[in-house]
């Protein structure tokens, strides 16, 4: 499903003296079936942006088009169920979306809410829990009696269980151990390759380089760049202004350039970097 923002501005507490712009005239297209990363500094507006996609927030002005659905300041809260079924969202703080008294019920909630039978939902819960790297024995525990990383995984399982066609992930790997992070990122990539649209907010530029087809950079509520990661991370202007951090491989390459090495374009993944170093050392 293609998602388009047309001149979207979002003002928090619009009618109060402390009004502040969460989004400032953002126009952006998120392409169907691709893996898009959204990056930007703390407080730049990333969470605000994605919350418009399933109408948790509405534009103060402008419109958001999600498939056939148009969301404007006038959109009312009725009839949002079909949209919420299509667009699943893993929140930045996983606790905020856990509420049942067992992990199993929690994961089953989504599918049942969208019309699955109890049996189907239970089956989904058992499949999903394993997919996110947790033991089935956790299904009978309270989600609040889990470690931070375990809660995060349950929240992810809960969203994936409803099989949404677009999945929004707001820093889904914060709190995961590195091996778990890799597994979960591969899981998202896998889902995208099977036809889902993935939207990932992250501060991990290596994940952007390794997994995303497209990236968008948000700064002070504005969209300031969009494109394939290799291009965006080689955009000199952005880097000079210090609004974007490089992936590890790119910043290492940049340092290597101080003596001897030369890169036409900064490599952004470790494999690219390793390959280029080997080539340059072999003198070809």
């Amino acid at each position: 499903m293609e998602i388009t923002f047309e001149h979207v501005t979002h003002s928090y507490e619009a009618n109060s003296p402390t009004a502040s712009l969460g989004l400032d005239d953002v126009s952006l297209t998120i392409k169907d079936k691709l893996f898009t990363a959204i990056v930007g500094q703390t407080g730049s507006g990333k969470s605000t942006l994605v919350r418009h996609i399933n109408a948790l927030l509405k534009p103060t002005s402008g419109k958001v088009i999600v498939g056939k659905r148009v969301i404007t300041s006038e959109t009312n809260n009725k009839n949002l169920k079909p949209l919420r079924k299509q667009v699943g969202m893993v929140f930045q703080f996983p606790e905020s979306q856990l509420f049942e008294d067992t992990v199993e019920k929690d994961i089953m909630f989504g599918p049942m809410n969208f019309g699955a039978t109890e049996e189907e939902a239970r089956k989904a819960a058992h499949t999903m829990i394993k997919l996110v790297g947790l033991d089935e024995s956790l299904l009978s525990k309270s989600p609040f009696d889990l470690s931070g990383g375990q809660m995060r995984r349950v929240a992810i399982a809960g969203v994936l269980a409803s099989d949404p066609e677009t999945v929004i992930l707001d820093e889904p790997t914060a709190g995961l151990d590195p091996v778990g992070r890799l597994e979960i990122m591969n899981l998202f990539k896998d889902l995208q390759e099977k036809g889902k649209t993935i939207i990932l907010i992250t501060h991990n530029m290596d994940d952007v380089a390794d997994y995303a087809d497209e990236m968008a950079v948000i700064h002070s509520g504005k969209l300031i760049a969009q494109g394939p990661p290799k291009e965006v991370f080689n955009n000199q202007e952005l880097l000079q202004d210090d609004v974007l951090t490089l992936p590890h491989s790119a910043s290492f390459a940049k340092e290597l350039q101080q003596k001897g090495f030369h890169f036409d374009k900064l490599p952004i993944t470790i494999n690219e970097l390793g390959t280029e170093i080997k080539q340059q050392l072999n003198g070809d």
């Binding site: 928090y12 402390t18 930007g40 500094q41 703390t42 407080g43 969470s47 930045q92 703080f93 606790e95 905020s96 525990k141 309270s142 009696d145 889990l146 470690s147 931070g148 990383g149 375990q150 995060r152 995984r153 707001d170 820093e171 914060a174 709190g175 995961l176 151990d177 590195p178 091996v179 778990g180 992070r181 890799l182 501060h203 530029m205 210090d242 951090t245 590890h248 491989s249 290492f252 340092e255 290597l256 003596k259 001897g260 090495f261 470790i270 494999n271 970097l273 390793g274 390959t275 170093i277 080997k278 340059q280 050392l281 072999n282 003198g283």
Partner: protein, 277 residues
């Protein structure tokens, strides 16, 4: 070296659980040390910090803080020495505004109001959140919440700071700012830092890394010794440092020294190889 925390044969099982979360764990932490605690999700890291801060009570074993064995009577004293930044900052907020929230810990210490205002301003400036003073902490972005939680702890000037993944939602620059700040305070104020993290680069700042697995300490050593475990780190849910991963790609065709090299050392090696071509 002077011990600030000494943990002996600690055991803990959550009431609703059959499996112990901490098993016969012993650990000494030294004054002015920066200790990293790492390990898989569910390995017991947060549980250990809750035990140290007296938020939960061990089934058996002892914890000694600044020479005092902790018990129900003196836990409040001990807690004054410790500033803990929780994994989820929402669990930390008590005030209706950011400034009230940061002031809360100082009020508890009985600080006069004028000093308090100054102290709150200072702490918020340190984490670059002065402009958000009058906001409701719940309305902040994820990274802003983490910054305020950090300010709240810094304001009380504890002797021991426990950071439970408290930079996990900061942008790379913000993370660096906070870690540099903590490092600077550690040096100036004789602070002890216990930092729980999944970020291998964050551990490079510490003097010692303890690896937890299934409620037990499985490794305890200097960062270079831990990094030297190479691909064995994955067993404990950890990743290899960037330089090690890069070396294994390059090593296919080029000769590089064995063992762990820091990024700086690797860079020097690569420059040398390049100039010998």
């Amino acid at each position: 070296m002077e011990k600030i925390i000494s943990i002996e044969n600690l055991n803990y099982t959550y009431p609703e659980s059959k499996k112990p979360a901490i098993k016969d764990l012993s650990l000494d932490i030294y004054k002015n040390e920066w200790l990293s605690i790492v390990g898989k999700n569910g390995s017991g890291k947060s549980t250990l910090t809750k035990l140290i801060d007296g938020l939960i009570e061990a089934s058996s074993g002892t914890i000694t803080i600044a020479g005092q064995v902790i018990n129900e009577e003196n836990i409040w004293d001990a807690r004054k020495r410790i500033g803990i930044i929780f994994q989820n900052p929402d669990h930390q907020f008590v005030g209706a505004t950011v400034e009230d929230d940061v002031a809360f810990g100082l009020e508890n210490q009985g600080m006069p109001r004028e000093d308090m205002i100054k102290e709150v301003d200072r702490a918020l400036a340190l984490v670059k959140m002065s402009d958000f003073k009058t906001r409701d902490p719940q309305s902040l972005s994820g990274g802003q919440k983490q910054r305020v939680a950090i300010a709240g702890v810094l304001a009380t000037k504890p002797q021991i700071i426990i950071m439970d993944e408290s930079t996990s939602m900061l942008d790379p620059d913000g993370r660096k700012t906070v870690l540099d700040l903590v490092q600077q305070l550690r040096k100036q104020q004789d602070l002890t830092i216990i930092s729980i993290t999944h970020d291998i680069e964050e551990t490079e700042l510490s003097q010692r890394i303890v690896v937890l697995n299934d409620g037990q300490i499985v490794k305890d050593g200097k960062p270079v010794d831990i990094y030297d475990l190479g691909s064995n780190l994955r067993k404990y849910g950890l990743e290899e440092p960037f330089s090690s991963k890069l070396m294994s790609i390059i090593r296919v065709t080029e000769k590089l020294p064995e063992g762990y090299l820091s990024e700086e050392e690797l860079k020097q090696q690569l420059w040398k190889l390049h100039s010998n071509m």
